[in-house]
Every structure is written in structure tokens, then in C-alpha cells.
């Protein structure tokens, strides 16, 4: 699935780095706890979260993630957007809740290739 397909499945608005929307992504994770993302996430390219602060972008950057989806219509600040721009991470915002967002992506074929359990 490409990042632009993620946006389409989630009816999401891309907030920055739309130039990277053709990037292929093969797995995703959903969490509001960045500690857990750092500890348990393996090679996941998409992070879905309802947490909105600059450390979400930093965490994704350290984990080599390509895309962050803010669920529940959360609105990142300009500071967050510019950090992501610099880090080359696509940001998007969806009105769907976390559970629905994850379910929609999973049902559309974005699965986790052996990373379903810790």
C-alpha cells in the first residue's frame, strides 16, 4: 500500500510531505504511548496515534517510520508539522477513531507480516 492509499482509506488530510505520498508501506502500529512504540515496534512504517506533541515525530524519526496518522481529528501544531517536514515524515489527520482507523487499514491489506505479537 502507498501512503496516499493510507490517506484514501482513512479519508485523511495530508498535512505535510505530500511529495512522499507514493512511498510504499507494508506495516503499521497504533499507540498513544511512545515508550511502547520505542520498546515494541519493529519495522513498522506507519504510526497511528491520538497523541499530539513533537515527541511523536521524534519517536517516529528514531524508528525510521515514514508516516504518522493523527486519529480522532487531532490537529498538530506548526512546530510539529515543521519537525516532520525536516525529518521527511508524512503527516496526516483522520476523523476516524483509533480502533476504526486500524481496522480499516488492516482490512485494506496493511498487515504486519509476522509482527503481530511482541
Amino acid at each position: 500500500m502507498r501512503i496516499k492509499d493510507v490517506a484514501s482509506v482513512l479519508s485523511a488530510e495530508i498535512l505535510c510531505r505530500s511529495d512522499l505520498a507514493e512511498t510504499e508501506v507494508k506495516s503499521a502500529c497504533g499507540s498513544d504511548m511512545m515508550s511502547d512504540v520505542l520498546a515494541y515496534v519493529k519495522d513498522h512504517a506507519v504510526l497511528l496515534t491520538g497523541l499530539v506533541n513533537p515527541q511523536v515525530v521524534r519517536t517516529a524519526e528514531m524508528m525510521d517510520m515514514k508516516c504518522i496518522v493523527f486519529v480522532r481529528g487531532k490537529n498538530p501544531s506548526e512546530q510539529i508539522i515543521s519537525l516532520a517536514e525536516e525529518a521527511g515524515i508524512v503527516l496526516m489527520r483522520s476523523s476516524y477513531r483509533m480502533y476504526t482507523s486500524c481496522g480499516l487499514l488492516y482490512a485494506s491489506g496493511l498487515k504486519n507480516e509476522g509482527n503481530d505479537t511482541v
Binding site: 498513544d32 504511548m33 511512545m34 515508550s35 511502547d36 520505542l38 520498546a39 496515534t49 497523541l51 506533541n53 513533537p54 515527541q55 511523536v56 521524534r58 519517536t59 524519526e61 528514531m62 524508528m63 525510521d64 512546530q79 525529518a87
Partner: protein, 141 residues
């Protein structure tokens, strides 16, 4: 690269939102120096966890990173309160982080164990009321 490169960062303890600046810079430099993605990820995660810890628990400190062809060495030194029980602090799920930090997505008690997991060598020296220094090494295999 024949000589060892040294990077020193002052980690600002007053602003949680800007934590990670040093780790992001190290990541960028290692990429530029042509290190493997695997090594860069290990160093980035270990250092970022450490940087976050310094901001949460110790009001910042100094991060020193030395890079040679075969090893990246990270020393994180703070003048915080020190760690009372290292064994307990190293156990997964144990954290003394306040609720306001948990609300920001951190403080799950995974930081120290995660740092150890991503390093080839890991050592903590701490003294109550004096501070903590974490030594980490990741080898370029």
C-alpha cells in the same frame, strides 16, 4: 574515517518538547558518515531513550558521542537525583515518571531496559544526590 569524531551536546532539561535534538543530530551525522541502517537505528533509539530520561528525571545534562569506524560510544551524564535501586529501575514497567510525563506518551518504565537491549555494552554509574552517568557502546559489525 581514520580518526575518532566527537560530538558533545548540552541536553536542555527545562523543555521536554525539545528533547531529542541531540539524538536527531547524531542520527543525521551517522547517516552522512555512511553507517548501516541497523547501527543507526540502534544508536538512535538508545540515545533518544537516554535523552528523554535526562529531561524527565535529571533536568538535562551532557551527551558525548564518539564515533570511530568500528564503534559508536555514547556517554550521558547528568547531575540529577541519582537512581536509588538500579536493579529495580532496569526492570520493565517500573517508572518514577510523574503523570504529566505519562500524559505526553512516556514513562512506561521501558526506557532503561530498551537502551540496554539496543546496545552491545551498557553500564550505569549513579550516586544519590550527585547524578547518573550512562555508558553505551554499539559496535559496527
Amino acid at each position: 574515517m581514520n580518526e575518532t569524531l566527537k560530538y558533545v551536546y548540552e541536553v536542555d532539561g527545562s523543555d521536554f518538547m525539545s528533547a531529542g535534538v541531540a539524538s536527531a543530530d547524531v542520527k543525521k551525522n551517522l547517516k552522512m558518515l555512511g553507517f548501516s541502517g541497523d547501527l543507526i537505528k540502534k544508536v538512535s533509539i538508545a540515545m533518544y531513550e537516554g535523552e528523554i530520561n535526562m529531561v524527565i528525571h535529571a533536568n538535562g545534562g551532557i551527551a558525548t558521542v564518539e564515533v570511530s569506524d568500528d564503534c559508536v560510544s555514547i556517554v550521558l551524564a547528568d547531575k540529577g537525583p541519582g537512581i536509588e535501586d538500579i536493579e529495580l529501575a532496569m526492570s520493565e514497567g517500573y517508572s518514577t515518571a510523574p503523570d504529566r510525563i505519562r500524559a505526553l506518551g512516556f514513562g512506561a518504565g521501558m526506557g532503561l531496559p530498551n537502551m540496554k537491549k539496543y546496545c552491545d555494552e551498557f553500564k550505569i554509574e549513579t550516586e544519590l544526590g550527585v547524578g547518573t552517568t550512562v555508558y553505551m557502546k554499539v559496535y559496527n559489525s
